[in-house]
Symmetry: C2
Subunit: 830 residues, 2 copies
Amino acid sequence: MSRSAAGLLRDLIVYQIYGANTGVGKTVVSTLIGRHFVGRGGKTRWKVHYIKPVQTGPVEEHDDRYVARFAKHSTSTLVKYPEPVSPHVAAKGSPYLFTDDMLVSRLSAKLREDARGASMASGHLGVTIVESAGGVLSPGPSGRPQADIFRPLRLPVVLVGDHRLGGIASTISAYESLLIRGYDVEAIVCFESGKLGNVEYLKKHFHPLGIPLFEIPKIPDVEGCSRQDEIDKMHSYYDTEARSGSLYSLGHRMVNRHVARLKTLNTLPSRTREAIWHPFTQHKSIQSSEILAFDSAYGDYFQTKLGEREPGRDSKTKYMPEHQVLYPAFDGSASWWTQGLGHGNPRLSMAAAYAAGRYGHVMFAGATHEPAVQLAESLLKGMENPRLTKVFYTDNGSTGIEVGIKMALRAACKRYGWDGSTEDIGILGLKGSYHGDTLGAMEASEPSVYNKKVDWYRGRGHWFDYPEVKMRNGRWAVEPPAGMEEEFGPVQHFEDINDIFDFDVRGHSPRYEAYIEGVLDKLVKEQGRKFGALVMEPVLLGAGGMIFVDPLFQQSLVRVARRYAFGPSQQTAEEEAQLDALSWTGVPIIFDEVFTGLYRLGRFSSGSFLQTHADISVHAKLLTGGLLPLCATLASQSIFSAFLGDEKSDALLHGHSYTAHAVGCHVAATSLTELQYVARSYVWHACRKAWGEKGVGEDVGTEPRSLSSAILARAQSRRVWSMWSPDFVKTISQHERVESVITIGSVLAVSLVDRSKSGYASNAAAGLRDSMMYELTDDRYAVHSRVLGNVIYLMASMTSTQNDLSAVQRVLLQKLKVMTAREQEMESRE
Amino acid sequence: MSRSAAGLLRDLIVYQIYGANTGVGKTVVSTLIGRHFVGRGGKTRWKVHYIKPVQTGPVEEHDDRYVARFAKHSTSTLVKYPEPVSPHVAAKGSPYLFTDDMLVSRLSAKLREDARGASMASGHLGVTIVESAGGVLSPGPSGRPQADIFRPLRLPVVLVGDHRLGGIASTISAYESLLIRGYDVEAIVCFESGKLGNVEYLKKHFHPLGIPLFEIPKIPDVEGCSRQDEIDKMHSYYDTEARSGSLYSLGHRMVNRHVARLKTLNTLPSRTREAIWHPFTQHKSIQSSEILAFDSAYGDYFQTKLGEREPGRDSKTKYMPEHQVLYPAFDGSASWWTQGLGHGNPRLSMAAAYAAGRYGHVMFAGATHEPAVQLAESLLKGMENPRLTKVFYTDNGSTGIEVGIKMALRAACKRYGWDGSTEDIGILGLKGSYHGDTLGAMEASEPSVYNKKVDWYRGRGHWFDYPEVKMRNGRWAVEPPAGMEEEFGPVQHFEDINDIFDFDVRGHSPRYEAYIEGVLDKLVKEQGRKFGALVMEPVLLGAGGMIFVDPLFQQSLVRVARRYAFGPSQQTAEEEAQLDALSWTGVPIIFDEVFTGLYRLGRFSSGSFLQTHADISVHAKLLTGGLLPLCATLASQSIFSAFLGDEKSDALLHGHSYTAHAVGCHVAATSLTELQYVARSYVWHACRKAWGEKGVGEDVGTEPRSLSSAILARAQSRRVWSMWSPDFVKTISQHERVESVITIGSVLAVSLVDRSKSGYASNAAAGLRDSMMYELTDDRYAVHSRVLGNVIYLMASMTSTQNDLSAVQRVLLQKLKVMTAREQEMESRE
């Protein structure tokens, strides 16, 4: 996906001219604007440029020629096709292939060229008019609508309205299509519409939206005129109109909005520092200049304006001419683990808008709507877990976990006859686990720096030690924690990551199970403690530091937790008789798939890696493809039954106002279907193949989206693989500064050697992160990432391409090299 | 706003024909479809109708005439203007005023008429084609875009694509404008486009979206033909094409989608019962037939399909012909207290789509974006609370309250040197208060049925008694709880609700303050308990049962809590020196404005009614105008400072992945601005006037939206008023079955007399609720509402009109009468 910088250059005012339809007068408007700025009075000298990115037809009819004739300033066309048809038709018959990226890069380069020499300080400014072709959504050479093709540049728009019959409708629709794609329409220009009243109507329509409309007199009637007469007439038209009040106001608006956008970007960090309390942030040490201002985002890339800490400022690599205000940075944390289908994905925008238009939010207690049911059914189907039958909606992972815990504790208390209101019922979990920041979710995590100063936190449970999976020096290993070889056995090596998950070969682990039983005996039998749930993140503990747990240990834990006698059952014979093979036993098992589920690790369900089925499963983050918060807690029938009773108070008395909000559910249902298509597409096939999987990907781009078991099956991979290249993973694991690496699905985490004795270590990962973001490489590639202690991690979205990921890998390796060299230099000085 | 039933009739297949632009052949397509069904083979007999809702120009050129000539079935035009211009222009010059409501009602009535006689069982089905005018967004007589005008009917759409140059763009844009408004586009029809390739392109574009495109041969060239020749040629064209494969497939699609929609609505409740775990619901007793299926919603109305419990089925009032599948019900709980700007508000849909298109979600830790900052600034400004300086975002009221409590406890523990990890720090609150369902929020509420079976709940705090405000028998009163006259004084009566809030006259209450201090002395001095916050909902306790607390008591509580010595300060002299008049003292004061704030009670801040300023203020529900979840916790500088330190662990280590999600923030910023405009508009003026306020409303419809202090000031009312009529409130309070009534802002709550001894009481409110929903009145008005114990409450959105609310009031009074009569009849039988 394109990683061009958005088209915002400090001293060059760039606008894209879109038309409400073909034939509305875009070229005339472009010419007028050009001429206006050339002749505009005042202290500023304007250098004007005109660009037609794509032109079809014979050269003598090209728009740039027309503009050049009447406007006398620089004009250019980037891509030309001789056939006088739509670009996507012309491109098919042409030997020249122009991808969207090429087109955008070319336009981007041209804008930088136009910006050269312009300088606000010296009173020389540039204006570049980029004229689009046809209507807003007319296809470009690749066949994609041009508003999608040019979206990475997100140029501000002057929309030429349609002054003809039907033009009110087409102008507003065109505007809406731009808005959905995140464009800022800064002005509407419309030719006189006379009795039709388009101008008056549109003016009134756009006024409350803060968008002015500028009316322009009709183009002179040149029918029957000689060629020379026509040219003279038009010259005179342009002479007069370029100096009209309308054009002055329009010019003013164009300049003002450009300046306002720069001002917004410049002041955002300080305004943020003033008004915002950031999550997980020690504000004492944060300066405005350290706050990243995002203008927008598209695909895998943020468009970023930095404060004083501009890339290139304190490095030797000059990133860009000073004109360039924004630069793209790879969203290397998938925006806190949420991103799946790319920023600004028009399909998700449309899904959100449709549900908003059809429902808004409709209350869900005692009621229902299609998106909520559709999503619930998709989740239950996709999980392929026969235990799960019911879906409870909340707003985020933390609230979803609270619900899961309430479910499990109630079921356990009921079966074992415990009184939760007086007895301490704990949960079982893993060391380093994390489940969210509301109190109930926090209580399910062991004491750590995150809850140390949460005054109501007590930590209710026991958290197990476990062996970890790591790649060290190019080899996969399962390692016991330091000093626990006796409990877990010695380090085991594996040639292939798949072997670690091959439970047929590895078998059950009597050692693991004995260890777990021993711990439980101590807790339950010796200390008399009570437990009401086992809660864990399958495979990968996220916030705990991207810890890859030996899946066999997790499987063993589930097995033991299910057969262990946590207490004598107090159920009636009738209740006992209702239990079946899918009922929970021991304690209810909760899989927190908030981070790991829904294809983050390459599979619909991360629990499936453990080849065991949870009784309760929690899903959020990727659920909406990375657009907005929503959470689903899935539960089994035997959990659900624990809440059936004659009293209202027997029910699960939990709910949020926006429970199952239609916008979230519809976006999520759309997103799940898209994710399943991506999962069986060519995009993922290359990665799977690199990790040793056979079979081919499919071209799914044009298939109607629907959820079928067949599609799901083809999307499921039974192998373990990663979106990161196996060679790269091996290489980096062999680097002297790298302690170990883990990767699975879209996640890569690099643990740096702890050199705390030498004094550099504690912030080595943070230094690497900053270096990847601020000290740009020769190919000007910035990567935004996050660290957890001495671990730096990277996360792709499900639609990241191999090209993009290769670039990210290159940057990481390069910056690691630079960091190491610097450290050595400093050490040698001491 | 229109309360027409959506246009879904069981045995009448209705489609609206929209055009991608004017002149694309809508009338020809309508004619073809009509002819096709007339002549369609098979067992079913089709009765075809054609409706042109609005027609301008001379009668001989009307579309219905054209269709009638070629299709030979019933045709009609609902509204005619002789002038051959756009309807909105023609309407201006016409003496006949057609409001949108009238137009929709007329069309709705015509559809019911068309449905008469049709019956699936007997193999006689109807097809009605409703042809729109111009493009999708062409203005109707009122000037609103017709897709907005007809939205209440939400007819399925056949979109006629544009086969001409530029038609690819205009067709997709038209489709997107329909989608944003919640329409289902079921088919695209497009005339041959030849070399332009529109048909091929559009087919490919819509295929993955599941929408088929049907190509139709060009209309015969009749230029130069005689009138008769033209007619003959067209007849022959229609003869052939109406029987073409394309038309058969299109007809099939139209029928299938109609049947599928019916099936979805019919099966939604049972599918819901299968897959959904509802919030706050005892599932043991719920049958599928009791689950309301919402097809959609618009303005204040749900479009509802009921199961077996159809309205009219067990009442004498026949509501509608059996054909009508959906009926509108007033959303009387404002969709669980969230709704502010109406369901399906296109401005909010567009805001959501724009932010999704521009950002998707972008990570917020260490970063920022415009919508988050804009919203934060709007909130801080709108609150007019000089203490508040910082905004922390979370996803819903419950998580926002958890954050508020974490903030307050930390600040208190720090100042008083308490160790929260070992000492029990409680909160102070009011009896009957409720703050959310996550554990931390639950802990701040007193024990009740809601947390009785939450196994980790302990209830950490003390909850005060207080006097209540009620209207009884037409008179406002402040009443002490039973048996507490000594503590709170005897019942006080007030002529005007404003007098209750007139603290200048009422003065401080030494009695209230002495009582509060006495309680605190007992808790703190005698029992040694520690408290870290005062948490309360200003004015109205929502989930506790719509309890209207004496505002003077709440003010007294804040005053005492601020001056009481909860412990000796452990701050350094330096820290003490930093305290100023805006710093918290005693304990931090948290106002939970989640339900009461943002104009729910008629003012931006409900805390402002108490004439005191909180240190922490929590806002959700109405924040996004009723579209999706988002919460903002606002805090003062002295609270913020408590988290500044050298350690990361000193910071507020709380955050959700979608913190400050751009979609939510932008929708909320848009919504706040809209709410402020509504608050000073004519809409509210009538209510304010009825409650004794002077001054006039303004026509704000066409003003550009921006937040300025002037606008805010004009939106603020210093008086207390309600959207419900004062006469109605008085009348209902005098009803024999009514114990008392409260109203303020958009909220009305009616407490029924507790007749539990006679055995009818416990479900009287529920009976009233069901009667309002299922036993429809003569004017067929259904109201969806919620009850809390023996309280039935109603809540308007901020844009509800007087007309709608009057209707709701009528229904409530009428049903109350019916209920009373029934009870008397039953009693007399005994």
